[in-house]
Structures are given as structure tokens and as C-alpha cells.
Point group: C2
């Protein structure tokens, strides 16, 4: 395979994997099939729950992540994209276990924010409890002068429950309303935009429905992958 091939380590969850690939397709300038970028996807939903591993001592997903990443590398992927924010907690060890670059969705989100809103000083974070409590967004943003504002504990429990509803396919209009209301509260606390920091959230919330500025890390990751394949980075 001489063509650049994007590898997607997915399944966390499956719908978010579909969403990332759909974004890659949309962001690719193409008039016919042959203009599109080859993509290898391993959707491995058996990877243990990331939040449970980080916060409750649940089974460690890292060996599964490494096995899946190495499979994509062996198949010919030239770069990896991982459509799961919480899995980025394990990124340093995962990236060290493969010889191909692994895109960092959190770093890419910071860079996109900086490019689009250079003066922004505080951003809200809606994400799984593992993403929020592990501080993986805080570590990337706060050392560069952007504060991360998060929901209070009761609200965070509702965000995590909403994400589980989306994963179960049982979400409703009220799931979206919950996420948007808690996002709006972050704006009241001083956030100037809200990161949709779990890949399930953009499946139900977008900037138009929310009525506030949103950063969609899935879309930002897709753009980074397309830019790589087009030789722009």
C-alpha cells in the first residue's frame, strides 16, 4: 500500500467510530470513490471501560489498546486516530508501543482552539467522568493558559449517565437537553466555549442545537487525519 492509510482504533463506542469516519469522508475533497482516502478500522468494542479502569480499578484497557493498535500497524495503517477521549489517558504508553504516529485528539483540540480563538482563556468540558477526573484535558490546556471548567459532581454524574444512554441507543430528547443545560451552566461559570469531550456527545449535541460555541474533538481529529493523508502535516 503506497497510498497513505488512516488507521482508526475504534469501538469506544461503535457509533463514535462511525461518526469519525463519516467526518473524514465529509472533509475529504472527492468527486468519486477513487478520490477518497484508504482507511483501516478496527472497531473493538470489547476494550474494557476506560472510566472504570481510571477511577474504580476496573480491568486495564491498555493491553487491548496496544493489541488493537499493533494489528492496525501490521495491516498497513500509517497513522492512528482513536475516537475516544477517555482512552487518551493511556496514550503515552500506547504511542510508545507502536512505530507509527498516533494522533492526540486532545492536543489537536487545543491547537484548533488556539487557531480559531487565540484570545480565549476559559473553556468548559463535557465528558465521561474518567476524562474529567483524570485531568487529561486540564494537563494540555491549563499549562498554556486556558482554564478548563467542569460540571459540579451532581451534574457530572448526569453527564456520565447521558453518555451511557447514548451508548445504549436509548437516548431521547431529554438526553440532549441535559447535556446542553449543563453545558450552558459552564458558560455561566465563565467558559467561552464548550468542548464536546466524549465522542458520544457530538452524536446528539451540535453548536446549532446547543446555541453556544462548541468544540467537536471528533471533527478536529478527522481534519488532522485528512491533513496527514493529504500531505499537509
Amino acid at each position: 500500500m503506497a497510498e497513505p492509510v488512516i488507521g482508526i482504533l475504534g469501538g469506544m463506542g461503535p457509533e463514535a467510530t462511525v461518526d469519525l469516519y463519516r467526518e473524514i469522508i465529509r472533509l475529504t475533497p472527492a468527486r468519486r470513490d477513487q478520490d477518497h482516502i484508504p482507511v483501516l478500522i478496527y472497531s473493538n468494542p470489547k476494550i474494557p471501560d476506560r472510566t472504570r479502569a481510571i477511577l474504580e480499578g476496573g480491568e486495564n484497557p491498555l493491553p487491548y489498546l496496544i493489541e488493537s493498535a499493533r494489528l492496525l500497524q501490521r495491516m498497513g495503517a500509517g497513522i492512528l486516530a482513536i475516537p475516544c477521549n477517555t482512552a487518551h489517558y493511556f496514550l503515552p504508553q500506547l504511542a510508545a508501543a507502536v512505530q507509527i504516529p498516533v494522533l492526540n485528539m486532545i492536543e489537536e483540540t487545543y491547537l484548533a482552539l488556539r487557531a480559531g480563538h487565540p484570545d480565549l482563556r476559559a473553556v468548559g468540558l463535557l465528558g465521561a467522568t474518567g476524562t474529567v477526573r483524570s485531568g487529561i484535558y486540564h494537563a494540555v490546556f491549563e499549562r498554556r493558559g486556558v482554564s478548563i471548567l467542569v460540571p459540579d459532581d451532581a451534574e457530572q454524574a448526569r453527564v456520565h449517565a447521558a453518555i451511557a444512554e447514548i451508548k445504549s441507543g436509548g437516548h431521547s430528547h431529554s438526553t440532549r437537553q441535559t447535556l446542553e443545560a449543563i453545558g450552558a451552566n459552564l458558560l455561566c461559570k465563565g467558559a467561552e466555549a464548550v468542548i464536546l469531550g466524549c465522542t458520544e456527545i457530538p452524536l446528539v449535541v451540535d453548536q446549532e442545537s446547543a446555541g453556544f460555541a462548541c468544540l467537536n474533538p471528533t471533527r478536529i481529529l478527522a481534519q488532522a487525519a485528512v491533513d496527514w493523508a493529504m500531505g499537509k502535516r
Copy 2:
């Protein structure tokens, strides 16, 4: 990988590949990520145009199809699904080149039709010109007593152009109207239902919008793959 893994040989086109995987997710009984089926996808949009190869002596896609199928087999796929109707012209040689079963979307569509409508005697076919002219649906359906009705030459050219519009991302409301009007003409000719026999077509046409009975081979293929993974076949 002890779990059954569905392999998708896709990219023909990429959106149809997304559509098949989305259907697999929807048809899988799951409450959380870990309930879902592992899926390997090789979306290889560089596979040469199938209709051009069949009708105009264009580059033969078979070597690319075989290479892609073998890659999925090496990665651990236990079965292959191919979300491209026209590619099924090459299925006998492709299936002979791998050691894992390859689902036959056309055969599955016949079986689903028979299960749901045992008395049906004539069905319309909307598809790429390579699918229609090569007779791959005719061969499966007509020897079992179901007539295949196809658009006239001028209409078929419009169907093929509509498919190209969908692939280019440049389709509009009128693309859908064209397909639905030509489908409705097949009903006037005696068809009792219409096969959406190009995987791009269900991206814009469904039974509700069309107002006539439709068979969606992508969804039928997804159900067959899920049934396999659940041990039901």
C-alpha cells in the same frame, strides 16, 4: 481474537461502507460498548470502477478485491461482507481466493424477499449500470421464478448518473426524486417491490420517502452479518 469478527471490504463507496456498519450497530442487541460485535473494515476506495470494468473494458478490480479480502482475513475477520452490489459480479473468483466465507448480498436479498413476500413474482431493480447489465440479480432471482424488471436505457443512464451524484457528495432533492420516479415506473411495469440495488441509493431513498415497497440489500447484508456473529447461522 476468539470473538467472531465481521470483516467489511468497503470503500465502494466510503459512505456506503459507513451505512453498512451503522446498520450492523443498529441491528445488534447492545446496552453498552462491550455488547457490540468486533468489526474490521478496510475501506479501499482505490478499487477500480466496477461498472467500467464490466461494460467498457476498464481496469479489472478483481486483484484489488482479492488483496483487500486477504488483508481482512489475515487480520482476523471470520466472514466478509462487501457493501457494493456491482462488486458481486466478481464474487465467485473472490470467494475462491480466501478461506473465510463471503456473504453474498444478492443471494441474501433473494432469501429476505422470499421470507417476507413468498408470493411475489416480479421485482424492480435500481442499480448501477454494471449491476443491471451484467445480470447478477437476474441470475439469482429469475431461475427461482422472480422476474427482474429494469429501467429503459434512458432511465438507466439517469439512475447511473444519480449514483455518481451521490458518490460525489453533490446530490440534491432532485437526485432522490429521479430515483423514486424511476422506481415508481418499475411498479407501473408490474414490479411489486423495488430493490435499492446500489449501496449508494439507500443513502438517499427509503421506503417512507419513496411510498412503495423497497428492499434494502445493505440492511439485509447487515442482518446476515449480525446473525452470523450471534451464532444464528
